[in-house]
Symmetry: C4
Subunit: 280 residues, 4 copies
Amino acid sequence: MIPLTKECLNQVIVKRAVQSHKGSYGRVVCIGGRKQYGGAILMCAQACVNSGAGLVTVMTDASTIPALQSRLPEAMALTFHDPIAELVATADVIVIGPGLGTDKIAKECLAFVLSHQTATQWLVIDGSAITLLAQHPLDFLFPEHIVLTPHQKEWERFSGLPIAAQTIDANQQAQQRLGCTLVLKSEQTHIYTHKAIYQNTYGNPAMATGGMGDTLAGIIGGFLGQFGKTDQLAESAIGAAVTIHSLIADELADKHYVVLPTMISEQLSKTMRRFCPLTR
Amino acid sequence: MIPLTKECLNQVIVKRAVQSHKGSYGRVVCIGGRKQYGGAILMCAQACVNSGAGLVTVMTDASTIPALQSRLPEAMALTFHDPIAELVATADVIVIGPGLGTDKIAKECLAFVLSHQTATQWLVIDGSAITLLAQHPLDFLFPEHIVLTPHQKEWERFSGLPIAAQTIDANQQAQQRLGCTLVLKSEQTHIYTHKAIYQNTYGNPAMATGGMGDTLAGIIGGFLGQFGKTDQLAESAIGAAVTIHSLIADELADKHYVVLPTMISEQLSKTMRRFCPLTR
Amino acid sequence: MIPLTKECLNQVIVKRAVQSHKGSYGRVVCIGGRKQYGGAILMCAQACVNSGAGLVTVMTDASTIPALQSRLPEAMALTFHDPIAELVATADVIVIGPGLGTDKIAKECLAFVLSHQTATQWLVIDGSAITLLAQHPLDFLFPEHIVLTPHQKEWERFSGLPIAAQTIDANQQAQQRLGCTLVLKSEQTHIYTHKAIYQNTYGNPAMATGGMGDTLAGIIGGFLGQFGKTDQLAESAIGAAVTIHSLIADELADKHYVVLPTMISEQLSKTMRRFCPLTR
Amino acid sequence: MIPLTKECLNQVIVKRAVQSHKGSYGRVVCIGGRKQYGGAILMCAQACVNSGAGLVTVMTDASTIPALQSRLPEAMALTFHDPIAELVATADVIVIGPGLGTDKIAKECLAFVLSHQTATQWLVIDGSAITLLAQHPLDFLFPEHIVLTPHQKEWERFSGLPIAAQTIDANQQAQQRLGCTLVLKSEQTHIYTHKAIYQNTYGNPAMATGGMGDTLAGIIGGFLGQFGKTDQLAESAIGAAVTIHSLIADELADKHYVVLPTMISEQLSKTMRRFCPLTR
C-alpha cells in the first residue's frame, strides 16, 4: 500500500512546454447531467476546465446548457440528440456518469462509448454509469485505459461485494479480474491499479456533500488529458488527481465548516501552480 | 424566556465524525419558487447547501431550474410534474413554502407533504405554505417534528391573533395547541417550543429586505438535517439556525447598509467553522 | 445652482429604525428589459436591490427572467402577460423604461402606469419610455411625483430642445411646464426640481458605457422607496442617488480604466454604510 | 520585425476626454456563439465590454442569450432571426466568427457582413468565419479595415500555406495580397500589417486552453472601437490588444497553472488603468 502525499504533485504537474497549444492538453468529453442531476455535470466540467484540460465538451440535456454556458463558457456543449460518433472518436478522455441517470438514453450512450473506446483513449466511469453497468454488464475493450470511480455503495452494486466485505484483498481481486483502475471512494479513498494499491492520506468530513465525486471525476479527466501520455504517467496522474482534490479540501477546511465541490475547483489552478516546478 | 447567544453555536455545531458521508448530514428537500417567486427557493436552497446539508433537492417550476443550476449546481432539481412520493418518503427534512404561492398545485403539494410526513421526518413550513394553511387548515401528523416560521402578518392569518394581540402568552398558548415549534419572525424573533421560549438577541434593520425569511428557512432545514438527530438536539439546532442567521447579519452590517440574504449564505460555512471546536 | 457634494449623503442615508420591516423600505417595481435590451432591466434591478429597496419586482420578457433569477434572486419577476393592475396599485415607486423598447406592448404598459399613478406613488421614467413619450405624449397625473431621467439626446426628442439649445434656462422652463423633476444626464448631470437646480460634482468618462443610466434609474427608485417619505425628503433622495452613483464611479476609476455599471451596484451597500451616521 | 512591449500600452490607452459619452467609445457588434459553441461568443463579448467598448451588441443563437444576460447584462443581444441590416450599418466594429460554425446561417451572415462593410468600419474575422472563408472565398470591400485572426491551422486552411511553410516571408506575401491585417496566433503571435511586422513578446503555455482566441478577438474589437480613429492609431490599437492579452496572462501565470480566458477579461480594466497616463 503506497501512501499518496503531496510530493506526487511535484512529479505529475510538470511545466508546460513553450511549444504547445490547447490540443496538447487533451480533448476531454464529459457526459451526464440529465434531468434532476444537471448540476452534477456542471461540477464535473468546472473541475475539468480548471484542472487545465485543453478543450472540454459537455454532452448533456438541452435544459442544462444555459447554466453550463453561464457558469463555464470555456466548455462546449452538445445534447444527446447531437451526433456522438465524432465526439467520441476524437476525444482523448471521456468522463461518463455524473448525473447520467439510468434510463434508455443513458444506457445507449454508455454502450456506445464503451463499444467505441479507442486504444489510446481513457474512460472515466463514474456515478450512475457504474450503477448502469451493475445492472447491465458491458465489455471493456481496453480496460487498462478505464478508471472506475465508485463510492462504496456503487462498488457493492457493481462488484457484488457488500460494504463489510470490501477488504483490500477482495477489492484487489475484483480489480484484477476487471483489469481497469479502481478509485474506491470512502473517507479514505484507495486506488487499485495493475501494479499497486495507493492510499489517499488527505481528506476530511467537511467534504461530505453532494457533488464531491463529480468534481473528482472531472479532475481525473483533466489530469489524464494533460499528464497521462504513457500508462505509467497516467497511473501517477490518477493518484495526483485524488491527492489534490483532498489536499485542497483540507486547506479549505481550515476556514470552512463545509467544503463545497465548487470551492475546490476554484482553487485548482492556484494549487497546481504551487506544485509546478518553474524550471526543469 | 431564554436568550439565544452565540454560545449556543458552540454546542450545536459539532465536529463531523471522520467516518461519515453525505448521507450522514441529511437529505433535505426544498419546495417552492413558483411563478414570480422563483428567487425565494433559490435563496432557501443556497442557505441550505451552505449550511452543510448533505444532499439538497429542490422541487420548483421548470422555469426556475436554469437559474438554480447556474447558481447552485450542488442542488438537485425536480419540477411539480415529477413524482413526489419517493422524494418525500426519503427526505430527512422538508422545507416547504418559500415562493410556493397559493394555487391548486401549491395546495396539492402541501397536502401531500403534510399527509405523508413520517415519524422521524422534520417539516419546516414557511411563507405561502403558512398562508395556505390559514386558508385551508390541514392536520399535522407529527406536530412535534414541524417548525412553523411565520412573520407577524402570516402568524395573524394563521393563528387569528392580530399583531397587537401577539403577546408572549397568547403566542405560547397557540403554539401549545398546535404542538409544533413556532419561529415567530419580527425585529426580535422568538421561538416557542414544547419546553421553552427562546429569544433571538441578534439581528438589525439592515436585514429588512425580501428573501431574508427564505434564507432562514433554508438554514433551519440544513441544521435539522445535520444536528437534529434527537428532539432535544433539534430544538437546539433551530435556535442555532436563528442565531447564526442574525449574528452573520450583524457582522455584515458593520460594513454594509443593506444585508442581502445571499450575503448571509456566503458567510455560513466560515462562520460555522469559527464556532466548531476542533477537538472533542 | 446648488452643487451636490458627498455631505448630502450624510443627510439622506439615515439610520434604519429598529422597529421596521421590508415593507418600510419601499415596494419598487422595475419595468423594461425587452427583446435585445434584457440586460438593461437586470442592471436597473440590481442597483435597486443593492441600494436597499425593501421589495423589488421586475416586469420583463419571460426570456429575461432566467438571467434575472440567476443574478438577483432577491427580485420577484413577472412578465407582460401577467396582471399589472395590482402590481401598479401596490407599488411605492415604479421605474419604467430601461430597455422597454417602443413597440405596442411598451406603449400600452407605459400608458397604463401613467394613467394609474396614485397620489403618493413615485414614477421614474427612463430610457425608451422617454422616447415613447416624445412620440406619443401622455398626461402626467401627479407630475410632482415623477422623475424624468433623459440623457441629452432623449431630452432633445422629448422637449424639442436641440442639444445646443439645452441651456440652464431653457431646461428649467421646460421642467417648470412639465411640473416633474428632471434629471438631465450628461458629463455633468443637472437636476431640475420645483425649487432648485442641482449640479452633480462627481463623475468621470470611465462611466461612458452602456447600462450606466439604467443603474442610476435603479438607485433613484431604491432611494425614493427608502428615503422619499415627504416631497422635501424625496428631492434630497434624488440628489443623493445621482451623487452616490458618480461618487462610487470616481472611487472605482482610481483603479479601473472602465467602470462598468454592475461594479457600481456592487459597491452601493458598503458606500452607503460609510455615510450613514451610527447614532442619531 | 518590431517587438511589442508594454510601452505600446502607454501610447494606445489614452485618457478619456471629459466631454465624451458611450457613443465615443465604439459600437461593437460580436457575431457567433452558435450551437455547441455558445461559450465562444460569451467570452468574446466579455472581453469586449471589459476592454471598454462603449456599446456592445451580440448576435447569437436564442439559446445562448440567457447565459449572456446572466454573465454580462451590459451587452445587448439579438438572434439570427432579427434584422441584421441596421445593426451592421451602425456598427463601428464587427467581430465575426467566435463559435459561428459553418452552416448555412453562418455563411449567409458572414456574406452579408462582408458585402455591407462601410469605408470607416472595422471587421475582425475570427474562428469559424476564417474556416468559412477558406471554403467559400468572399471579396473584401475595405481590406485595409479588416483584421484576420487565425491560429496556424486556420491560416493553413485559408492561405493554403502548410504550417511548416508559414515563414515570415510567406505570411507577409499572403498578407500583402489580401491587403488586410493578419494576426497570426501561435506561441509567439505575429501581426502583419501594410507597413510592418510586429512580434508579441509576452504569452505563456498556461494560456493553451479553449476560448483564448475568442477573448483576444473581443479585445481587438474593443480597442479598435476606442482607440482606432485613424488607420495609424488602429494599427497601434491592434498591437496593444495582442500585448495586453498576453501580458495579463503572464501576470496571472505567476499564481496560476492554467490561465482561463475569463480571468484575463476580469483583469482588463485594472490593467488598462495602470498604463493610462493620468494627465496629458
